[in-house]
Amino acid sequence: MRSKINRIKAKGFISILDAIFGLMALLLFSTIIFSYFQNLPSLYDIFIYKQGYDVLTVLEYTNFSNPTLVFQQSSNNICMRLEIYNGVAGTLLSTYYKSGCDPSNINEKIAWRTFIDGNQFKTAKLAIWRK
């Protein structure tokens, strides 16, 4: 009788142990999955890229004639740095910064655009980040 009781006790103990292991496994997997999603582009990244594309489009529509003015008219909480290159990322010709912003940021996103200036093929690199 006693050994039967002991077997049942052991069974109960193992069930609880299984449940605890299961819970730990669940927590582990949840952590892995959520950290994976954390590293994927967020809504913030999408917003930043969209802003970058819009700014570069406006810059090209205005022939890159006054980047500082375009920067001034952009959203206040966005910072930008524009680099103009000869050819495809060839010689750096000029750099423009948005006033009130640091020159660079560790979280900056990069967007590129080509444009024709006279007979020259040039590229514009826009670094953009949130203040």
Binding site: A19, L26, P41, L43, Y49, Y53, T114
Partner: protein
């Protein structure tokens, strides 16, 4: 004995409770993951589609430097601007090479295929109208407009602005009267003077004007009307000269529909989730 039974019962209830909680948590986790994944997929598609659209617009803006189309909103007038300060063949082959390099920089596959031969560029409109610019012979460049799908181009008039070193005077050679409005402006960039020709002609007849270039035997000839059996067509040709820098054509249509059309430049742009593979659209 009874207390052992009670304890066993307690153990099982506890196990069952933990298993139930685990099950609920698992379902919740799966739901959150599914939601996050679908949200993320949508965002990814959105950003890639945006990027493809952005690249197409980028290429279009470059091409517009040599040949551009525009139509203001709710307007019956379309404008085609021809820039002769570029050699189209050189421009297009340079653009092709540069975009190949640019593709490596942006991580987007870009394939820009110029027309063959690259000296003949055109815009084909969905209403059948075709604009052709032929630079095969640098001293005999030619522009043609006609309806490729019918015998008449349904338009109300042309305004032609020619800017270059040709004379300002526009000489009517053979002109008939009718209902097609024609206005020609010849602007000489050296003297700053402009000649104007403004009249209504018969679009079913062949009407001819000539603008002489500075040297003898050189001229710009404008044909409007019935050209090769197609009414309301247009042809601007430079004979033994390369005196025109720009041509702006304002074409009055008989409706305000937004014109759609394509350059004869094939463009492939693709990212991992989105792609464009078609002739380059004019807008």
């Amino acid at each position: 004995m009874e207390s052992i039974d009670k304890r066993h019962k307690k153990g099982y209830v506890l196990s069952l409770a933990v298993v139930t909680i685990l099950l609920v948590l698992s379902i919740l986790a799966v739901q959150i993951i599914t939601y996050k994944y679908s949200e993320h997929s949508t965002l990814r598609e959105h950003v890639f589609a945006d990027k493809v659209g952005f690249i197409i617009d980028d290429v279009l803006m470059d091409v517009k430097k040599v040949l551009s189309f525009s139509q203001p909103a709710n307007s019956s007038i379309i404008t085609i601007f021809e820039n002769y300060s570029y050699s189209k063949s050189s421009f297009l082959s340079n653009e092709q090479a540069r975009l190949n390099e640019f593709a490596n920089l942006t991580g987007v596959n870009i394939s820009f295929i110029p027309p063959s031969p690259s000296s003949i560029m055109n815009i084909s409109f969905t209403n059948g109208m075709v604009y052709v610019t032929n630079e095969t012979d640098a001293n005999n460049k030619e522009i043609r407009i006609y309806n490729s799908t019918g015998s008449i181009l349904h338009i109300d008039g042309y305004e032609i602005r020619i800017i270059g070193t040709q004379n300002k005077n526009i000489l009517p050679v053979s002109v008939s009267s009718g209902s097609l409005h024609v206005r020609i402006l010849s602007f000489n960039i050296q003297s700053g003077q402009t000649g104007i020709e403004d009249r209504y002609v018969d679009g079913n007849e062949l009407n001819i004007w000539r603008i002489n270039a500075p040297s003898a035997g050189q001229n710009v000839t404008i044909l409007i009307g019935n050209i090769s059996g197609k009414s309301n067509s247009l042809n601007i040709r430079q004979y033994s000269t390369n005196s025109i820098s720009y041509v702006q054509l304002n074409i009055s249509k008989n409706n305000k529909d937004d014109e759609e059309g394509y350059y004869n430049i094939f463009l492939n742009v693709s990212t991992s989730n989105s792609f464009y593979s078609d002739y380059l659209k004019i807008r």
